[in-house]
């Protein structure tokens, strides 16, 4: 079952590489050179050229020289922000004691600061980081769960003389070594929250100190890019200013993260109108607060709206409301309404023809979606695309409308409603699953044009960019 690995996939194309679980991407060998016959030594920049000599290495060097450090194998859980908040890296106290509990099949470690933690043997063995068990370049486990002996026992365990490592000898002869500060970060149910997947949100209302960033800086400066993305995670809204007044800027900004998320309207969409008050008093009605693409199962994470041209008008402010904050307020004043909005699913649809041909999108979502920790994960409101279909017993219908109506009215209360009039060169960026957006009515005062370009980003890519930037900025 566990044959020695002798050859692996070769990726030779700049645009892609094997994506099979991220294992051995861009890494190849051939013939009888097994990568496991040699122990990898420290500097990763040696790794590509010394091992994989016979194969084109262009992408390989580019792939692995910057991202990997000696610590990569033991990279601690990442934190949000360059300053390490709290014990994201585990504390640096020395290990004071290592004890075996064979009955409970676990190791009990104590640190000088008084902290102690139990580590089940099977977990330690499953996460051994030696190069036979964990590929130091691909950063992937080599030990497979179906080969794992869940009853594996430790023969002996000691701390290193300085107390910064724990060395374990297994009963099958294998040996593992773990840095103690790495172990200290893994506290199972008591582990520190992942600040990117489960952030501590900063809730806001009409009096928010709306942060703004310079477009030019975001393109060049990694620190600014990090801060903008962190703001999107924590507060869920920010303005980017002084963007060149032509289409395509969102592609540039999106490229700094990874790529733009496409939808049925294309990779970007345009909102364009030429307005002339001379024909009749041109007024455009208000756009109610909503989230975009409610009719998608996989709703876009972040929206960006670039104001390329702003009409000369009165009114026309962009409106925003923090769906998370108002949902928590609703939970306080009317828990039953909150409960209904978390359970009843509304259905949404969109039919038409656009960039990719004819489409007929359809989905269903609760208004307030809770995650597995019962915390608010996502808000979906879209009067325009909400379908009549409501798959609940009829006696639930009126109560759920009452709940929705209450929530919608709370969203537009003066203390919750943020008004921001976009200027030419602004890009409003916000969490499309949290911030509701709309626009107040406007009346044109002078013949002028209005042109917005819009697009989306996804949280997977934003989170990834944030982790990479945080690590890079921290190491400087």
């Amino acid at each position: 079952m566990t044959g020695r690995l002798v050859g692996i996939h070769l990726a030779r194309f700049a645009s892609s590489s094997p994506r099979i679980g991220g294992l051995f991407r861009g890494v190849s060998t051939a013939g009888s050179n097994s990568i496991f016959s040699k122990q990898l030594k420290s500097s990763p920049s040696e790794v590509p050229s010394s091992r994989y000599m016979n194969l084109p290495l262009i992408s390989l060097t580019k792939s692995y020289s910057s991202a990997q450090t000696t610590n990569a194998v033991f990279a601690p859980p990442s934190s949000l922000g360059v300053q390490t908040e709290g014990a994201s890296k585990g504390h640096c106290d020395a290990v004071s004691d290592v004890r075996l509990d064979d009955g409970g099949k676990q190791l009990i470690m104590s640190w000088e600061g008084g902290q102690s933690q139990t580590f089940p043997y099977v977990w330690l063995r499953d996460n051994c980081r030696c190069s036979k068990c964990f590929h130091p370049v691909a950063l992937a486990r080599l030990t497979m769960a179906h080969d794992l002996d869940v009853d594996v026992t430790v023969a002996s365990a000691d701390k290193s003389p300085e107390g910064d490592d724990v060395i374990i000898h297994w009963d099958d002869g294998h040996e593992s070594q773990f840095p103690s500060d790495w172990l200290a970060a893994y506290r199972f149910v008591d582990s520190q929250r992942d600040q990117i997947l489960n952030p501590k949100y900063k809730l806001w209302g009409a009096d928010i100190d709306l942060q703004s960033f310079e477009f030019g800086e975001l393109l060049e400066d990694d620190r600014a890019l990090h801060d903008w993305l962190a703001e999107l995670v924590i507060r869920g809204i920010a303005v980017v200013k002084n963007t060149p007044s032509e289409v395509g800027q969102l592609h540039r900004l999106g490229g700094r993260v990874a790529f733009l998320r496409s939808c049925n309207y294309g990779p970007t969409f345009q909102v364009k109108s030429k307005v002339d008050p001379s024909n009749a008093a041109y007024t455009s009605g208000p756009l109610a607060l909503h989230t975009d693409l409610a009719y998608y199962i996989r709703q876009p994470g972040i929206q960006m709206l670039h104001c390329i041209e702003q009409a000369e008008c009165t009114g026309g402010e962009n409106l925003f409301s923090d769906g998370f904050k108002v949902a928590l307020d609703l939970k306080e004043v009317d828990p039953e309404a909150f409960r209904l909005l978390t359970t009843v699913q509304f259905e949404f649809f969109d039919v038409g023809t656009d960039h990719y041909g004819k489409f007929h999108q359809y989905s269903r979502h609760p208004t307030i979606e809770l995650d597995e920790l019962k915390e608010i994960a996502s808000i979906t409101i879209s009067d325009h695309s909400r379908d009549p279909m409501l798959r609940v017993p009829p006696d639930q219908v009126q109560p759920v409308y009452r709940a929705l109506s209450k929530y919608c009215k709370m969203l537009v209360e003066p203390q919750n409603l943020l008004k921001y009039k976009m200027e030419k060169g602004d890009i409003t960026t916000f969490n499309n699953r949290r911030a509701l957006h709309g626009r107040s009515a406007f009346q044109v005062t002078k013949a002028s044009g209005r042109h917005l370009e819009g697009s989306y980003l996804e949280w997977d890519e934003v989170n990834s960019r944030l982790r990479v930037l945080a690590a890079e900025l921290q190491s400087k």
Partner: protein
């Protein structure tokens, strides 16, 4: 629409009664259906041109303006039972067609098979019987495209044969639907295995059963895998397992393990560089469901991270459950094998199936090249609905 007792094509309203306590109408229709229609819902779904934009097919009325306690001023059944007319307290008038009302049965409403697919669960009997489609026909014929997409939704796996042995085939299919789901690996990607000139060939290790990109909060959905060049030598068979089948067995035989596998979030992590450095991470159970009850399997041992958000006393039990999971997925009665031939594609639901590959030899002078890509269900389902209407006239309500 089935024929009613009177032999008419459309049902009609026989009687409509108010219930101001429950705040709904009770309507008896000629097809023996008796329905309840809450007042606020009727008001919210008024189809007049003020309330509903027929061109954009969008509601104009806003929740913020609605009165959830609204009581109609008056109502009448008109046009020989074909419609219900309601006058609201503000004198607004609404008209609702009987056949439209007949379809709106709330929790009793008919299921839309595209939005709520019915899954055909399978095991080893699929060997030699994987649904097969012709590549050129999918591109040229809407009916074949529709059938291929339906099979992907219900069965979860299909072979597409006689595709050209060159790159770009996956893109053709993706564009026939709408567009690729892009990931950090780009829109399409290649997997190549080639011995170096001086070697006599080599053996590539097996790939355990897994799902792709479990470190994405939203892993890709439909996977396309096109064999452009198949190595000369032994092995290289793809393996597939139906997640629904596994779930069924685990629930029945090992309910405790199933609870852990579907309840405890497992961290998956992937940090490296492809087109740019990335650090992806997701934390979800191995057997996961979304709010619509759709299965999302998430399993790839190599990139399972050490994090386990559970009480330490349960960790060993969790590992036992993972081992059990491995045993069940590899049961012969669950495994489907298929060795791709050149020009053949396998297309499947990456959130439902686990896929793997046996080890293979690459003999000197030969090489193995695959190209792949992903498509989202949003786009697949949208294309399916459009085709259903075009081919069969089946409109959504």
């Amino acid at each position: 629409m089935t024929e009613t007792a009177n032999g008419e094509a459309q049902p009609r309203l026989l009687k409509v009664t108010r219930d101001d306590q429950a705040k709904w109408y009770v309507a008896d229709l000629s097809d023996y259906y008796s329905g309840k229609y809450p007042y606020v819902w009727l008001r919210d779904n008024c189809q007049c041109s003020q309330c509903y934009n027929k061109e954009c097919l969008q509601r104009e009325t806003l929740t913020a303006d609605m009165d959830p306690e609204v009581l109609p001023a008056s109502e009448s059944v008109v046009d020989d039972g074909r419609a219900l007319e309601v006058v609201w307290p503000d004198q607004h008038r609404s008209s609702y067609r009987a056949d439209w009302l007949d379809c709106q049965r709330f929790s009793e409403s008919q299921i839309d098979p595209i939005s709520h697919p019915e899954y055909q669960v399978w095991g080893a009997e699929m060997n030699g019987n994987i649904p097969t489609f012709d590549y050129a026909s999918i591109l040229s014929t809407d009916k074949v495209l529709y059938e291929w997409l339906r099979v992907l939704q219900t069965t979860g796996i299909a072979l597409v044969q006689r595709a050209p042995k060159e790159k770009g085939v996956c893109r053709q299919l993706a564009e026939r639907v709408a567009f690729f789901r892009r990931t950090i690996y780009g829109e399409e990607w290649q997997v190549e295995s080639k011995p170096n000139v001086s070697s006599l060939g080599y053996t590539s290790k097996y790939l355990v059963l897994h799902t792709d990109l479990p470190y994405y909060i939203s892993p890709p959905e439909v996977q396309l895998l096109h064999c452009i060049e198949q190595a000369k030598g032994k092995g290289g068979e793809n393996q597939f397992v139906d997640g629904w089948n596994i779930v069924r067995q685990l629930k029945a035989e090992h309910p405790e393990a199933y609870k852990l596998l579907s309840g405890v979030p497992i961290d998956y992590k992937n940090a490296a560089t492809d087109q740019y450095p990335f650090h992806m991470k997701a934390s979800r159970p191995i057997i996961d469901y979304d709010l619509r009850g759709e299965l999302c399997m998430r399993y790839n041992d190599p990139i399972r991270a050490p994090y386990m958000l559970m009480p330490v006393e349960k960790v060993t039990e969790m590992y036992k459950a993972i081992k059990l999971f491995n045993q069940v997925i590899y049961r012969p009665q669950n495994l489907v094998h298929h060795r791709l031939t050149e020009g053949e594609m396998v297309t499947f639901n990456n959130r439902r199936l686990l896929h793997g590959r046996s080890s293979f030899e690459v003999q000197a002078g030969s090489s193995r090249l695959l190209e792949g890509g992903y498509i989202d269900w949003d786009e697949v389902r949208s294309r399916t609905r459009v085709l259903r209407e075009k081919l069969y006239g089946i409109k959504r309500l």
